[in-house]
Each structure stands twice: as C-alpha cells, then as structure tokens.
Amino acid sequence: MLVKLTPKKAFRIPVEAENIKPDNFAGKGKSGIESITVCHGNKEVILGSLFDVEVKGVGNEKETKILIDGDASRIKRIGERMTSGEITINGNVDMHCGALMSGGKIIVNGDADAWAGREMRGGEIMVEGNAGHYLGAGYWGVEKGLRCGIIRVKGNAGDYVGEHMAGGEIVVQGSAGLLPGLNMSGGKIMIEGDAILPCGEMKKGIMIIKGKILEMLPSFRFDGTEVIDSIELKKFTGDLAIGGSGTLYANFVSEE
C-alpha cells in the first residue's frame, strides 16, 4: 500500500503531525486518510485540508509506505511512535521526526531538524542531508535517549548527538557539534568527521571518532591503540569523573 501526501502549500505555521504514520494509515482508503486529524498551529484540522492524498493498493501497517512529496520543514513529529512500515520524505523535515518510534523505517531526502529519533526504541532512520541538535537524544529531563535501532546521517549533525543514549547505533558520516554522547550509557556512536568534547559523563557504550576531536575532556584514560575498519585508533576509557567505563576511539586529538 502506497500513500502519497503532497503539501498543498509551504506551511508557515507548524503542523503537529504525529498521526502521519503507517499504523494510522494501514487499511484506510483515500477518504479515511483525508479525515485523519492533525494540529495546524492551535487548530485541529483534517489531513485532506493540508495535503493532496493519493492511495495505491491496500495493506496492513507493515506493507504501508508513506511518501511525503514536498517540503516538510514545518511538519513536526512525523512517524512519532510508529511501529512498522516506511515513511519517505522528499525534502527537509521539522523537529521530532521518528520520535519514540519502535519499528519500521524513515528516509529523509533532505535535512532533519532537531530531535530526530528522540527516545527511539527500534527501527531505522536514514537522513540524506544534515541532522539538527539532539539527534537520537532523550528529551530534556528524560532518563534514556535512543535505546534500540539505528540512525544514519549522511551529512553533519548538530550538538548533543545521542545524549542519554542507552543502546542502538548512530552513524554520522559528516561532523558532529558539541558534546556528542553526553551521559550515554550504552550503544554505539560512529562519527566519521570531527567532534567537540565527546562523551562527557559517559557511563558505558562505544564512541568512534574518525576525524579530529577538536577539544577533549581531561577525564579519560589512554589505553593504547586498536585497529578499527583498518585505521589505527587511540583508545580512551571514561568518563572517569563519574566512574564511567565507556570506550572512546579517537584518530586525532587536537592539542589546542
């Protein structure tokens, strides 16, 4: 089952679209999907008033693919709590994309704003462009970020990648900003570019930084070198400031 949503215009007021997910669309026809409600600003409206809806075939949520064909840079919470199926966004997407999802796949053919994959419990998110801050993190005050599943970003990511992360995997092919892996307690983060002050308050888990660490926290112990993906990397253990036993693999640590 394929559902194509084409935005009728470029939204200026944000749309809160946690109802756009295969779990809600499965088995419904055009009119059924058009009548699903979302919030546009503080008004509750039906999907049909914001999008042109095309439906091909029928199927359960596993077989449901949603295509948002156009700019979603003001559409928040797409795929929140989704359990299976697939969502493709042909453009940029606003905050909280795939938050709390536990299965299925989201492909963003553009940039994802902050909080993509927030508190995710399973499934996969693929971002072709850049990701914003708090990729795969836990919301302010929440105890655990990403627990399971995988997030891949082809471009760069913002600050606080994988904050409070407890499991799963994040791969950033570009660089990350400040404090990636802050307070992480499990899982694996791979940053192929540079990063600043990684792994603060890290309890457990693995961080691999193939580019440069532009600034390094002093509370890590040097434990020799290891070869990963045919590159020799320095191995550090920490964050010792909180008695952590996480592992940080680094290629180059800036002396500045």
């Binding site: 919301y139 302010w140 005050g141 929440v142 105890e143």
Partner: protein, 559 residues
C-alpha cells in the same frame, strides 16, 4: 443561590452525625437552617459528607515546578485536552495546576494545604495557588532551618523568635510552622546531615531537639490555629522509629488545651525498625501504642501505593541518599538561608521487600491508631503516591477482604516484617469521614472556620457519592469515591456525575498573629542585617503583596 439536599445519608462527625437521613440547606455559600426557593438535589439515600480536606499535599511552590521539569515523561501521562470549562491537563505524579484542582474536585475534595512553602518562594507558591481552581488552599512556610530562627533559638530569645514567626506569617501569607528534618537542611549545605535529635547543627551550635521545642513553644505563644507540623529527622532510615518517638516526647510539656501540639506528617516513613534495609521491619505498632496513650500528637500516614511517582521534600540529604541508591536522575535546590529541597523519581514495586513493607506500614498506622481523630489520610502527595489514589486506599482500609487479596501479590517479607496480615479492623464510613474531613480540619484548626463539617454556618463544601453507606463491595467504594456524584464548593455545584460543571477560584487561608511592636522593631533590625549581608533580594521586596492573594481568608490571632 439556594440549595436543598434531601434524602442524603449524612456523615458529619464534628456535629456528631453518623449516617442519619436528613436535609441540608445551603444559602450564599453557607449551611443554613432556612431557605426560601431552593434548587433541590435528591441524594436518594446516597452518602453525603463535608468536602474533603487534604492537609498535606505538595501541589504548589518551587519544588513542584522543578519536579515537572525533571519529569517530562510524567507530563506525557494524564493528558486531557481543553474543554469548554476546563483547561488542558497533564501529568500524573506532578500534574499541572489545573489538573490538580479538577482531580481533587472530582474526588469530592474542597480544601488542600501545601505543607512546605519555602518563605523566599512564597510569592511563587501563591501564584500557583491562583492557577489551581476548585479548591481552597493554604501554605505552611518552612521555618526550622532559617538562620535567624536558629540564632534566636541558640540565644534563647523567645520574644524575638515569636516576633519573627509572626512577621513571617504576614510576609509569606502563611498558615503555620513547618519543620523538615530540623537542622538537616542547613547541615546539607555542608554535605552533612543530622542523625539524631542531639546532633549539633554545623555553625549554629544548637540541636534539632532545641529547634523543635523552641518552635513548638512559639507556636503556642502565638495561638496559631495549627500546631507545629513536623517531618521528623532520619526519614526513611531503618531503625528510625526511636527518633520519631523521641520527637513526640520532646513536646509533651508544651501545653495546649484546644488541640494537639505537634502534627507529625508522613509517619509511615518514620516507623522503621531494624538496622539495615535487609532487616528493616514495621514498628507501626510502637508508634500506634504511643499515639493511643498520648493526646498531644496527631499524625498522617503518608501512605505508599505501588507504582510510579515522584518524591520531593525539603529534606535534601535524604533525597541524595535515594539518588545514590537508585542512581536515577535527581535534582537539588538551595533556598539561600532558609531551606532547600531534593527531588527524585521513584517506583514502588510489589516485588521489592522494602516497598511492600512501606505499603503495609501506612495501612497499619491508620488501623492500629484507635481514634480516627488522630490520623488524617494522606499519601504525602506525590511522595507515597499521587492523591488520586485515595479512593483505593480507603477501600483497603474499609475491607479486610481487599487487603487479603492485595497481600497475595506483594513480597513475602511482609509476613515476617510487617503486621498488616494480623489486623482485622475494618474502618466504617464514620471513621473515613473523620480521617478525610473532620480530623484534618480540626488538626489544622479550620473546624472553627467552617471546614470539615456541615453545621449551621459552616462553609457549604459538600460531597455526595453515588453509593449507599450500606455498600460493602470495596471496588464499588473505590469507584464511587473516585467520581463524586456531586461536589458542592462554597454553595456552588462544581462537579456533577464526576464531571466539572463550574470552575470557581478557591480562597487562600492565612494567619495574621498580632505581636508586641517593640520586640518586632528589634527583630527587624536583626533581619535587616541578614538581608543586607546574605539574601539575594531586598527586605522591602520580600513580603508577598496582597495582590498575589486575591481571595484571602485572614485568621487573626492574639498572644
């Protein structure tokens, strides 16, 4: 508006009415003896009581707000959208202000007291009170760890101590004297705690015992409607029941003819035997024995119910210990030279021996203390459980059968290290009305101001439940108490069939004690120094302005 409630089965223990069929007349917000053209409510043999009074519930102030920030996942529970009359509701253990008011009213409660108002944050607390609709409120300021109070207690200057407390009631629009782990909050500023009544408070050279006794005396000199309201030292430590009993004994010599001289709160957390968590057991029997043979202390249990909640208290060091045990997220607050607090989420599990024993102790206290007038029902919301669990607790207290069912699903330790299984007492509706209405009202000294009773001239705060007092099925009791058939607040029907039908603002009770002007002047000189040297605000900006308390009920007292 006039109301006639007929055919109700009335429970009004303060007026010695226990289950009689009679009419209640209401006019202009009060219970009256005559009405002309009333709207008639046919209670049809249903249970009718005064509106509920919760004397110890953390619903407003600094740490509740911080609790909301600490627990966004709690805010995602209990979400209800805005409706025609009601605003958006969120949260379970740290609900937003609107939800707090609506949920109390739906259970038939009409009066709630915030028992830990940091004086410096009194303005904030009153602002939150304004945003809590439906119920009447009051805030009890935390005074025991205030530097000036400790200095006056050290120098033995009772006059200035009394003058300062009188000034504080006025400045904070407060209702009484709250004591939390006396000396402990100050010691915590130095990373320490006090472990017994005779430990020395760092830098002040006084003991918790002296603080408690001094404040109890000042409380009686000022003739405050409520006694001192104390959270004893050593909360939550195995073997702490000794400290609790010693604390009760401290104020035996302080006299009051009209009421208790000490209200000890959430005593469940203070009734532990043993020496470690492995051999911790219930000493509810020892506590109950003391309360049964003395009349100067009242308590509330602070019942623990299984499930997720948030603990928050001005007892900062205790919260830090919980954090070190559970390793869960934690936050801590310091309130300059006055007090502090700590907050941590907690999950009380049936499978954990300690939690099961805690659950048992609260029920044991309520059942072993013979006179219900000495016990007010609380969960120390949200520390033991959110207040929305009261109906379930009442059903447990009223039905041995329900307790037996519950006992099958808890940790085995409860059979050896708690007493609950051997208790067969079942409370009746009169006991429950006392513990949830008459006793808290009397303990707070509000009975004289028309709360917790349905006598002529009393506030027309009335709850009608869709249940006959004959009903014995505990589940039906729980369900009826959760959704009042009618809640009438100040003569207005605010809840009908469990739904909100009107949203009044509620009043704020505060005490204005009159005290000798000369001593007050001297005291203010001392206070000015504290403000100049230590406080982050100016003395002139400190007192809560009248505008923050738009519906005040001022209670004047004289020495």
């Amino acid at each position: 508006m006039e109301l006639l409630i007929k055919n109700g089965i009335i429970y009004d223990p303060l007026n010695r009415i226990g289950g009689e069929k009679m009419d209640i007349l209401v006019k202009d917000g009060k219970i009256v003896s005559r009405v002309k053209n009333p709207k008639v409510i046919d209670a049809g043999g249903r249970l009718v009581m005064p509106g509920g009074v919760d004397m110890h519930t953390h619903i407003a102030g600094g740490k509740i707000n911080v609790g909301r920030m600490l627990r966004p996942e709690d805010g995602r529970r209990g979400i209800e959208p805005r409706r025609k009359l009601t605003r958006v509701c969120t949260g379970y253990s740290v609900p937003n202000t609107f939800a707090t008011g609506y949920r109390y009213a739906k259970m038939g409660y009409t009066t709630t007291f915030e028992p830990a108002m940091p004086p410096l944050l009194a303005r904030h607390t009153h602002e939150e009170f304004r945003a809590i609709p439906m119920v009447d409120k009051g805030g009890i300021p935390l005074l025991d760890n205030h530097w000036l109070i400790m200095e006056y207690i050290k120098s033995g200057d009772m006059d200035k101590l009394t003058a300062f407390i009188a000034w504080m009631m006025n400045a904070t629009k407060g209702y009484g004297i709250k004591i939390v782990n006396p000396g402990g909050a100050e010691a915590w500023g130095w990373g320490k705690n006090v472990k017994s009544l005779d430990d020395i408070v760092p830098n002040f050279d006084i003991t918790p015992a002296e603080i408690i006794h001094g404040l109890a005396e000042a409380n009686e000199r000022l003739n405050l409607p409520h006694s001192i309201h104390i959270h004893c030292n050593n909360l939550g430590h195995p073997g702490n029941y000794d400290t609790t009993l010693a604390t009760f004994d401290l104020v035996k010599d302080v006299a009051s003819e009209k009421r208790q001289v000490m209200h000890a709160t959430h005593v469940q957390y203070h009734s532990y035997g043993g020496s470690t968590w492995a051999d911790m057991d219930s000493k509810a029997d020892e506590i109950a024995k003391y309360i049964n043979s003395h009349d100067h202390v009242t308590i509330d249990p602070g019942q623990v119910m299984f499930g997720d909640t948030t603990t928050m208290t001005a007892d900062g060091p205790m919260e830090h210990e919980l954090h070190m045990m559970s390793k869960r997220k934690w936050t801590n607050k310091d309130v300059e030279l006055e007090t502090g607090s700590g907050i941590i989420p907690v999950f009380y599990s049936r499978k954990v021996s300690i939690n099961s024993i805690q659950w048992a102790i609260g029920l044991e206290l309520a059942l072993l203390i013979k006179s219900p007038w000495k016990t007010a029902l609380t969960t120390d919301h949200p520390n033991g459980a959110p207040f929305t669990r009261y109906p379930e607790i009442i059903s447990l207290l009223m039905s041995e059968k329900r307790r037996e069912e519950a006992l099958r699903n808890v940790h085995d330790a409860i059979n050896k290290r708690a007493i609950i299984a051997s208790i067969d007492r079942e409370l009746n509706w009169e006991d429950i009305t006392i513990m949830t209405r008459a006793a808290p009202s009397k303990i707070l000294g509000l009975d004289k101001y028309g709360k917790g009773q349905l006598g002529i001239g009393a506030d027309a705060d009335i709850s009608i439940y869709d249940i006959s007092p004959e009903e014995e099925d505990p589940r039906k009791i729980q369900s009826a108490l959760s959704h009042a058939k009618y809640t009438i607040k100040g003569g207005e029907i605010v809840v009908k069939d469990g739904e909100i039908v009107a949203v009044p603002e509620g009043r704020t009770y505060w005490v204005n004690p009159e005290f000798d002007g000369e001593t007050t002047k001297d005291m203010l000189d001392d206070l000015a120094v504290k403000f100049k040297e230590y406080y982050s605000v100016n003395l002139a900006n400190y007192p809560v302005q009248d505008a923050y308390v738009p519906h005040p009920v001022e209670i004047k007292t004289k020495v």
